[in-house]
Protein backbone atom coordinates (compact mmCIF):
# COMPACT_ATOMS: atom_id res chain seq x y z
CA UNK A 1 0.00 0.00 0.00
CA UNK A 2 2.87 2.38 0.80
CA UNK A 3 4.20 2.06 -2.71
CA UNK A 4 0.82 2.98 -4.13
CA UNK A 5 0.65 6.07 -1.93
CA UNK A 6 4.08 7.18 -3.07
CA UNK A 7 3.06 6.61 -6.66
CA UNK A 8 -0.08 8.67 -6.15
CA UNK A 9 1.78 11.67 -4.84
CA UNK A 10 4.36 11.40 -7.59
CA UNK A 11 1.70 11.41 -10.26
CA UNK A 12 -0.20 14.38 -8.93
CA UNK A 13 0.97 16.46 -11.86
CA UNK A 14 -1.81 17.09 -14.36
CA UNK A 15 -1.06 14.26 -16.67
CA UNK A 16 -4.39 12.90 -17.73
CA UNK A 17 -2.96 10.26 -19.94
CA UNK A 18 -1.63 8.43 -16.93
CA UNK A 19 -4.97 7.68 -15.33
CA UNK A 20 -5.18 4.25 -16.81
CA UNK A 21 -1.70 3.48 -15.53
CA UNK A 22 -2.76 4.44 -12.01
CA UNK A 23 -5.93 2.42 -12.19
CA UNK A 24 -4.04 -0.54 -13.54
CA UNK A 25 -1.68 -0.47 -10.61
CA UNK A 26 -4.44 -0.52 -8.00
CA UNK A 27 -5.40 -4.06 -8.76
CA UNK A 28 -7.69 -4.72 -5.86
CA UNK A 29 -10.10 -1.94 -5.10
CA UNK A 30 -12.12 -3.78 -2.51
CA UNK A 31 -9.66 -5.78 -0.41
CA UNK A 32 -12.17 -6.41 2.36
CA UNK A 33 -14.81 -7.75 0.01
CA UNK A 34 -12.27 -9.97 -1.74
CA UNK A 35 -11.10 -11.31 1.60
CA UNK A 36 -14.60 -12.13 2.80
CA UNK A 37 -15.56 -13.66 -0.51
CA UNK A 38 -12.93 -16.31 -0.01
CA UNK A 39 -12.88 -16.41 3.78
CA UNK A 40 -16.31 -17.93 4.43
CA UNK A 41 -16.07 -20.50 1.65
CA UNK A 42 -12.58 -21.67 2.51
CA UNK A 43 -13.18 -21.78 6.24
CA UNK A 44 -16.36 -23.81 5.70
CA UNK A 45 -14.36 -26.36 3.75
CA UNK A 46 -11.49 -26.34 6.23
CA UNK A 47 -13.83 -26.75 9.19
CA UNK A 48 -15.61 -29.63 7.52
CA UNK A 49 -12.36 -31.43 6.78
CA UNK A 50 -10.68 -30.75 10.12
CA UNK A 51 -13.63 -31.06 12.45
CA UNK A 52 -12.31 -34.26 13.94
CA UNK A 53 -9.24 -32.45 15.17
CA UNK A 54 -11.02 -29.50 16.79
CA UNK A 55 -13.70 -31.28 18.75
CA UNK A 56 -15.48 -34.58 18.68
CA UNK A 57 -18.85 -32.91 18.72
CA UNK A 58 -20.89 -33.61 15.61
CA UNK A 59 -23.40 -30.93 16.48
CA UNK A 60 -20.85 -28.18 16.98
CA UNK A 61 -19.17 -28.90 13.70
CA UNK A 62 -22.48 -29.18 11.84
CA UNK A 63 -23.78 -25.87 13.15
CA UNK A 64 -20.48 -24.08 12.52
CA UNK A 65 -20.18 -25.27 8.94
CA UNK A 66 -23.84 -24.51 8.28
CA UNK A 67 -23.52 -20.99 9.63
CA UNK A 68 -20.36 -20.39 7.60
CA UNK A 69 -22.10 -21.64 4.48
CA UNK A 70 -25.08 -19.37 5.11
CA UNK A 71 -22.91 -16.31 5.70
CA UNK A 72 -20.97 -17.15 2.57
CA UNK A 73 -24.15 -17.46 0.53
CA UNK A 74 -25.46 -14.14 1.78
CA UNK A 75 -22.22 -12.24 1.37
CA UNK A 76 -21.49 -13.57 -2.11
CA UNK A 77 -25.04 -12.95 -3.28
CA UNK A 78 -25.51 -9.51 -1.78
CA UNK A 79 -22.11 -7.94 -1.33
CA UNK A 80 -19.13 -9.37 -3.15
CA UNK A 81 -20.96 -9.90 -6.43
CA UNK A 82 -21.88 -6.28 -6.84
CA UNK A 83 -18.63 -4.92 -5.44
CA UNK A 84 -16.22 -7.12 -7.34
CA UNK A 85 -17.89 -7.70 -10.68
CA UNK A 86 -20.99 -5.53 -10.66
CA UNK A 87 -23.50 -8.35 -11.00
CA UNK A 88 -26.56 -9.03 -8.92
CA UNK A 89 -29.45 -11.46 -8.98
CA UNK A 90 -32.55 -11.81 -6.88
CA UNK A 91 -36.13 -12.96 -6.83
CA UNK A 92 -38.93 -10.50 -7.23
CA UNK A 93 -42.56 -11.17 -6.43
CA UNK A 94 -45.12 -9.33 -8.50
CA UNK A 95 -48.42 -7.92 -7.36
CA UNK A 96 -50.26 -11.05 -8.36
CA UNK A 97 -47.94 -13.36 -6.51
CA UNK A 98 -45.84 -14.54 -9.41
CA UNK A 99 -42.19 -14.75 -8.69
CA UNK A 100 -39.49 -14.13 -11.20
CA UNK A 101 -35.74 -14.00 -11.08
CA UNK A 102 -34.00 -10.78 -11.97
CA UNK A 103 -30.40 -10.61 -13.12
CA UNK A 104 -28.55 -7.32 -13.23
CA UNK A 105 -25.22 -6.47 -14.73
CA UNK A 106 -23.39 -3.22 -14.37
CA UNK A 107 -22.58 -1.60 -17.70
CA UNK A 108 -18.85 -1.69 -18.43
CA UNK A 109 -17.24 1.71 -18.32
CA UNK A 110 -13.63 2.32 -19.35
CA UNK A 111 -12.38 3.39 -15.93
CA UNK A 112 -13.78 0.35 -14.19
CA UNK A 113 -12.92 -2.49 -16.50
CA UNK A 114 -9.18 -2.08 -16.10
CA UNK A 115 -8.92 -2.04 -12.36
CA UNK A 116 -11.16 -4.97 -11.59
CA UNK A 117 -9.38 -7.62 -13.63
CA UNK A 118 -7.72 -9.32 -10.66
CA UNK A 119 -10.83 -9.07 -8.54
CA UNK A 120 -12.95 -10.67 -11.24
CA UNK A 121 -10.49 -13.51 -11.58
CA UNK A 122 -10.51 -14.15 -7.82
CA UNK A 123 -14.29 -13.92 -7.75
CA UNK A 124 -14.90 -16.46 -10.49
CA UNK A 125 -12.22 -18.86 -9.31
CA UNK A 126 -13.66 -18.87 -5.81
CA UNK A 127 -17.16 -19.27 -7.20
CA UNK A 128 -16.34 -22.25 -9.37
CA UNK A 129 -13.82 -24.23 -7.35
CA UNK A 130 -15.70 -24.50 -4.05
CA UNK A 131 -18.84 -26.22 -5.36
CA UNK A 132 -16.57 -28.73 -7.08
CA UNK A 133 -14.86 -29.44 -3.77
CA UNK A 134 -18.22 -29.94 -2.08
CA UNK A 135 -19.24 -32.35 -4.83
CA UNK A 136 -16.11 -34.35 -4.10
CA UNK A 137 -17.11 -34.37 -0.43
CA UNK A 138 -20.54 -35.62 -1.42
CA UNK A 139 -19.12 -38.71 -3.06
CA UNK A 140 -16.60 -39.34 -0.32
CA UNK A 141 -19.31 -39.09 2.33
CA UNK A 142 -21.62 -41.34 0.36
CA UNK A 143 -19.07 -44.05 -0.17
CA UNK A 144 -17.66 -43.96 3.34
CA UNK A 145 -21.26 -44.27 4.61
CA UNK A 146 -21.05 -41.39 7.04
CA UNK A 147 -24.58 -40.53 6.18
CA UNK A 148 -25.25 -38.05 8.95
CA UNK A 149 -22.89 -35.65 7.21
CA UNK A 150 -24.78 -36.00 3.97
CA UNK A 151 -27.36 -33.41 4.95
CA UNK A 152 -24.62 -30.86 5.50
CA UNK A 153 -22.83 -31.64 2.25
CA UNK A 154 -26.06 -31.42 0.28
CA UNK A 155 -26.81 -28.06 1.91
CA UNK A 156 -23.32 -26.87 0.99
CA UNK A 157 -23.60 -27.97 -2.62
CA UNK A 158 -27.03 -26.41 -3.10
CA UNK A 159 -26.06 -23.06 -1.56
CA UNK A 160 -22.86 -22.71 -3.53
CA UNK A 161 -24.29 -24.04 -6.77
CA UNK A 162 -27.18 -21.59 -6.46
CA UNK A 163 -24.77 -18.66 -6.32
CA UNK A 164 -22.74 -20.03 -9.20
CA UNK A 165 -25.81 -20.55 -11.35
CA UNK A 166 -27.21 -17.11 -10.53
CA UNK A 167 -24.00 -15.34 -11.42
CA UNK A 168 -23.54 -17.31 -14.61
CA UNK A 169 -27.02 -16.25 -15.68
CA UNK A 170 -26.15 -12.63 -14.83
CA UNK A 171 -23.01 -12.81 -16.87
CA UNK A 172 -24.72 -14.41 -19.81
CA UNK A 173 -26.94 -11.37 -19.87
CA UNK A 174 -29.84 -12.91 -21.66
CA UNK A 175 -27.76 -14.81 -24.14
CA UNK A 176 -29.16 -18.29 -23.91
CA UNK A 177 -26.90 -20.13 -26.30
CA UNK A 178 -24.17 -21.81 -24.29
CA UNK A 179 -22.11 -22.51 -27.40
CA UNK A 180 -21.84 -18.83 -28.25
CA UNK A 181 -20.90 -17.94 -24.70
CA UNK A 182 -18.14 -20.52 -24.59
CA UNK A 183 -16.82 -19.43 -27.97
CA UNK A 184 -16.65 -15.77 -27.00
CA UNK A 185 -15.13 -16.64 -23.63
CA UNK A 186 -12.42 -18.73 -25.25
CA UNK A 187 -11.63 -16.04 -27.79
CA UNK A 188 -11.28 -13.55 -24.94
CA UNK A 189 -8.80 -15.85 -23.25
CA UNK A 190 -6.79 -16.13 -26.47
CA UNK A 191 -6.63 -12.35 -26.82
CA UNK A 192 -5.62 -11.98 -23.22
CA UNK A 193 -2.74 -14.40 -23.34
CA UNK A 194 -1.53 -13.08 -26.69
CA UNK A 195 -1.27 -9.45 -25.71
CA UNK A 196 -2.21 -8.85 -22.08
CA UNK A 197 -1.09 -5.23 -21.84
CA UNK A 198 -2.78 -4.09 -24.99
CA UNK A 199 -5.96 -5.90 -24.13
CA UNK A 200 -6.36 -4.15 -20.84
CA UNK A 201 -5.95 -0.66 -22.21
CA UNK A 202 -9.41 0.79 -22.60
CA UNK A 203 -8.12 2.87 -25.47
CA UNK A 204 -8.80 0.14 -27.98
CA UNK A 205 -11.48 2.14 -29.63
CA UNK A 206 -14.72 0.40 -30.27
CA UNK A 207 -13.35 -3.01 -29.51
CA UNK A 208 -15.31 -3.47 -26.33
CA UNK A 209 -15.12 -7.23 -25.97
CA UNK A 210 -14.71 -6.96 -22.24
CA UNK A 211 -18.17 -6.82 -20.79
CA UNK A 212 -18.26 -7.31 -17.03
Amino acid sequence: MKQALVDDTEDVSLDFGNEEELAFRKKIRHPLATFFHLFFRVSAIVTYVCCDWFSRSFVGCFVTVLLLLSFDFWSVKNVTGRLLVGLRWWNHIDEDGKGRWIFEARKASPQRSVATEAEARIFWLGLVICPLIWTVFFFSTLFSLKLEWLALVIAGISLQAANLYGYILCKMGGERDIGKITASFLSQMVFQTASPRDFQKPGLKGLEIHKH
Binding site: F58, L66, G99, E104, A151, G174, E175
Partner: protein
Protein backbone atom coordinates in the same frame (compact mmCIF):
# COMPACT_ATOMS: atom_id res chain seq x y z
CA UNK B 1 -13.98 25.22 -47.21
CA UNK B 2 -16.59 25.40 -49.92
CA UNK B 3 -15.50 22.11 -51.32
CA UNK B 4 -16.50 20.26 -48.17
CA UNK B 5 -20.16 20.55 -48.94
CA UNK B 6 -19.68 18.36 -51.96
CA UNK B 7 -18.48 15.43 -49.93
CA UNK B 8 -20.95 12.65 -49.73
CA UNK B 9 -20.66 9.24 -48.27
CA UNK B 10 -21.64 6.37 -50.45
CA UNK B 11 -24.52 4.40 -49.16
CA UNK B 12 -23.04 0.98 -49.48
CA UNK B 13 -20.25 1.11 -46.94
CA UNK B 14 -20.82 -1.97 -44.86
CA UNK B 15 -21.20 -1.33 -41.20
CA UNK B 16 -20.67 -4.41 -39.19
CA UNK B 17 -20.03 -5.28 -35.68
CA UNK B 18 -21.52 -7.23 -32.88
CA UNK B 19 -23.97 -5.81 -30.47
CA UNK B 20 -25.23 -7.87 -27.60
CA UNK B 21 -28.36 -6.38 -26.22
CA UNK B 22 -29.40 -7.82 -22.91
CA UNK B 23 -32.93 -9.11 -22.88
CA UNK B 24 -34.91 -6.30 -21.37
CA UNK B 25 -37.38 -8.59 -19.72
CA UNK B 26 -34.67 -10.07 -17.54
CA UNK B 27 -32.11 -7.34 -17.14
CA UNK B 28 -32.95 -3.88 -16.03
CA UNK B 29 -30.99 -0.70 -15.78
CA UNK B 30 -28.32 -0.53 -13.17
CA UNK B 31 -30.57 0.01 -10.20
CA UNK B 32 -28.47 2.34 -8.16
CA UNK B 33 -30.69 2.18 -5.14
CA UNK B 34 -29.68 -1.32 -4.15
CA UNK B 35 -26.62 -2.02 -6.23
CA UNK B 36 -24.67 0.87 -4.83
CA UNK B 37 -25.70 0.83 -1.24
CA UNK B 38 -23.18 0.28 1.47
CA UNK B 39 -22.76 -3.11 3.07
CA UNK B 40 -24.11 -1.87 6.36
CA UNK B 41 -27.32 -0.77 4.66
CA UNK B 42 -27.75 -4.19 3.16
CA UNK B 43 -27.25 -5.91 6.50
CA UNK B 44 -29.64 -3.59 8.32
CA UNK B 45 -32.26 -3.93 5.62
CA UNK B 46 -32.18 -7.71 5.77
CA UNK B 47 -32.18 -7.79 9.57
CA UNK B 48 -35.19 -5.50 9.69
CA UNK B 49 -37.02 -7.68 7.19
CA UNK B 50 -36.38 -10.76 9.31
CA UNK B 51 -37.53 -9.00 12.47
CA UNK B 52 -40.69 -7.76 10.77
CA UNK B 53 -41.59 -11.28 9.74
CA UNK B 54 -41.13 -12.60 13.27
CA UNK B 55 -43.55 -9.91 14.44
CA UNK B 56 -46.02 -10.96 11.78
CA UNK B 57 -45.96 -14.52 13.01
CA UNK B 58 -46.51 -13.45 16.59
CA UNK B 59 -49.51 -11.36 15.61
CA UNK B 60 -50.95 -13.09 12.60
CA UNK B 61 -53.08 -10.96 10.36
CA UNK B 62 -53.90 -11.44 6.76
CA UNK B 63 -51.16 -9.59 5.00
CA UNK B 64 -48.82 -10.09 2.13
CA UNK B 65 -45.54 -9.12 3.73
CA UNK B 66 -44.41 -12.63 4.49
CA UNK B 67 -45.19 -13.67 0.99
CA UNK B 68 -43.86 -10.73 -1.01
CA UNK B 69 -40.52 -10.35 0.64
CA UNK B 70 -39.43 -13.86 1.44
CA UNK B 71 -36.18 -14.92 3.02
CA UNK B 72 -35.00 -18.13 4.59
CA UNK B 73 -32.93 -16.72 7.44
CA UNK B 74 -35.74 -17.03 9.97
CA UNK B 75 -36.42 -20.68 9.17
CA UNK B 76 -32.72 -21.45 9.38
CA UNK B 77 -32.32 -19.82 12.80
CA UNK B 78 -35.47 -21.47 14.13
CA UNK B 79 -34.51 -24.87 12.76
CA UNK B 80 -31.04 -24.71 14.30
CA UNK B 81 -32.44 -23.53 17.65
CA UNK B 82 -35.07 -26.26 17.70
CA UNK B 83 -32.57 -28.94 16.75
CA UNK B 84 -30.13 -27.78 19.43
CA UNK B 85 -32.83 -27.86 22.09
CA UNK B 86 -34.07 -31.28 21.01
CA UNK B 87 -30.73 -32.85 21.72
CA UNK B 88 -30.46 -35.51 24.31
CA UNK B 89 -27.49 -35.10 26.55
CA UNK B 90 -26.05 -38.57 26.44
CA UNK B 91 -23.34 -39.99 28.64
CA UNK B 92 -21.29 -41.17 25.73
CA UNK B 93 -19.74 -38.05 24.29
CA UNK B 94 -18.88 -39.61 20.97
CA UNK B 95 -22.38 -39.90 19.69
CA UNK B 96 -23.68 -36.77 21.27
CA UNK B 97 -27.13 -36.63 19.77
CA UNK B 98 -25.79 -36.50 16.27
CA UNK B 99 -28.50 -38.50 14.55
CA UNK B 100 -31.30 -36.69 16.36
CA UNK B 101 -29.89 -33.36 15.34
CA UNK B 102 -29.72 -34.21 11.66
CA UNK B 103 -33.12 -35.88 12.01
CA UNK B 104 -34.79 -32.63 13.07
CA UNK B 105 -33.20 -30.84 10.16
CA UNK B 106 -34.32 -33.44 7.66
CA UNK B 107 -37.86 -33.52 9.03
CA UNK B 108 -38.27 -29.77 8.98
CA UNK B 109 -36.82 -29.09 5.56
CA UNK B 110 -38.03 -32.21 3.82
CA UNK B 111 -41.48 -31.74 5.32
CA UNK B 112 -41.63 -28.12 4.20
CA UNK B 113 -40.56 -29.05 0.68
CA UNK B 114 -43.18 -31.80 0.51
CA UNK B 115 -45.94 -29.46 1.64
CA UNK B 116 -44.87 -26.92 -0.94
CA UNK B 117 -44.90 -29.49 -3.71
CA UNK B 118 -48.32 -30.63 -2.58
CA UNK B 119 -49.76 -27.14 -2.63
CA UNK B 120 -48.26 -26.46 -6.05
CA UNK B 121 -49.71 -29.68 -7.42
CA UNK B 122 -53.11 -28.69 -6.07
CA UNK B 123 -52.91 -25.60 -8.21
CA UNK B 124 -51.97 -22.96 -5.70
CA UNK B 125 -50.34 -19.82 -7.00
CA UNK B 126 -47.59 -19.47 -4.49
CA UNK B 127 -43.97 -19.83 -5.35
CA UNK B 128 -41.67 -22.45 -3.89
CA UNK B 129 -39.59 -20.20 -1.69
CA UNK B 130 -42.54 -18.17 -0.44
CA UNK B 131 -44.14 -21.31 0.89
CA UNK B 132 -40.90 -22.47 2.52
CA UNK B 133 -40.56 -19.04 4.09
CA UNK B 134 -44.04 -19.08 5.60
CA UNK B 135 -43.79 -22.63 6.91
CA UNK B 136 -40.37 -21.97 8.38
CA UNK B 137 -41.33 -18.75 10.13
CA UNK B 138 -44.46 -20.32 11.61
CA UNK B 139 -42.28 -22.76 13.53
CA UNK B 140 -41.60 -19.86 15.92
CA UNK B 141 -44.46 -20.67 18.36
CA UNK B 142 -43.31 -24.29 18.55
CA UNK B 143 -39.75 -23.20 19.26
CA UNK B 144 -41.08 -21.10 22.13
CA UNK B 145 -43.01 -24.18 23.30
CA UNK B 146 -39.78 -26.19 23.23
CA UNK B 147 -38.06 -23.57 25.35
CA UNK B 148 -40.88 -23.58 27.88
CA UNK B 149 -40.91 -27.39 27.97
CA UNK B 150 -37.22 -27.56 28.66
CA UNK B 151 -37.62 -25.12 31.53
CA UNK B 152 -40.59 -27.05 32.90
CA UNK B 153 -38.61 -30.29 32.70
CA UNK B 154 -36.07 -28.86 35.13
CA UNK B 155 -38.71 -29.26 37.81
CA UNK B 156 -39.68 -32.69 39.09
CA UNK B 157 -41.27 -35.15 36.72
CA UNK B 158 -44.84 -36.25 37.16
CA UNK B 159 -48.33 -36.03 35.72
CA UNK B 160 -48.65 -32.32 36.51
CA UNK B 161 -45.43 -31.69 34.67
CA UNK B 162 -46.81 -33.55 31.70
CA UNK B 163 -50.13 -31.72 31.74
CA UNK B 164 -48.42 -28.35 31.77
CA UNK B 165 -46.25 -29.32 28.84
CA UNK B 166 -49.22 -30.76 26.97
CA UNK B 167 -51.18 -27.57 27.43
CA UNK B 168 -48.32 -25.36 26.27
CA UNK B 169 -47.64 -27.51 23.22
CA UNK B 170 -51.31 -27.60 22.21
CA UNK B 171 -51.62 -23.82 22.50
CA UNK B 172 -48.48 -23.21 20.45
CA UNK B 173 -49.50 -25.82 17.91
CA UNK B 174 -52.80 -24.07 17.25
CA UNK B 175 -50.97 -20.76 17.07
CA UNK B 176 -48.66 -22.13 14.37
CA UNK B 177 -51.57 -23.52 12.39
CA UNK B 178 -53.53 -20.27 12.61
CA UNK B 179 -50.50 -18.22 11.58
CA UNK B 180 -49.63 -20.37 8.60
CA UNK B 181 -53.19 -20.68 7.33
CA UNK B 182 -53.58 -16.93 7.56
CA UNK B 183 -50.83 -16.64 4.99
CA UNK B 184 -51.22 -19.74 2.90
CA UNK B 185 -54.96 -20.18 2.61
CA UNK B 186 -55.46 -17.33 0.21
CA UNK B 187 -53.26 -18.84 -2.40
CA UNK B 188 -55.39 -21.92 -2.86
CA UNK B 189 -58.58 -22.28 -4.86
CA UNK B 190 -61.54 -22.42 -2.44
CA UNK B 191 -62.49 -26.05 -2.88
CA UNK B 192 -58.96 -27.21 -2.26
CA UNK B 193 -58.23 -25.33 0.93
CA UNK B 194 -58.71 -28.32 3.22
CA UNK B 195 -56.52 -30.51 1.03
CA UNK B 196 -53.74 -27.94 1.17
CA UNK B 197 -53.99 -27.24 4.89
CA UNK B 198 -54.05 -30.89 5.96
CA UNK B 199 -50.30 -31.52 5.31
CA UNK B 200 -49.47 -28.34 7.21
CA UNK B 201 -51.45 -29.74 10.12
CA UNK B 202 -49.49 -33.00 9.92
CA UNK B 203 -46.18 -31.18 9.68
CA UNK B 204 -46.69 -29.14 12.82
CA UNK B 205 -48.22 -32.15 14.54
CA UNK B 206 -45.04 -34.17 14.00
CA UNK B 207 -42.89 -31.35 15.34
CA UNK B 208 -45.20 -30.92 18.36
CA UNK B 209 -44.99 -34.65 18.99
CA UNK B 210 -41.20 -34.51 18.99
CA UNK B 211 -41.34 -31.63 21.45
CA UNK B 212 -43.85 -33.29 23.74
CA UNK B 213 -42.07 -36.63 23.90
CA UNK B 214 -38.68 -35.10 24.53
CA UNK B 215 -37.02 -36.22 27.74
CA UNK B 216 -33.45 -35.36 28.61
CA UNK B 217 -31.70 -38.50 29.80
Amino acid sequence: FAGLSDISISQDIPVEGEITIPMTSHIREFDSSTLNESVQNTIMRDLKAVGKKFMHVLYPRKSNTLLRDWDLWGPLILCVTLALMLQRSSVDSEKDGGPQFAEVFVIVWFGAVTITLNSKLLGGNISFFQSLCVLGYCILPLTVAMLVCRLVLLAEQGPINFMVRLFVVIVMFTWSIVASTAFLADSQPPNRKALAIYPVFLFYFVISWMILTFTPQ
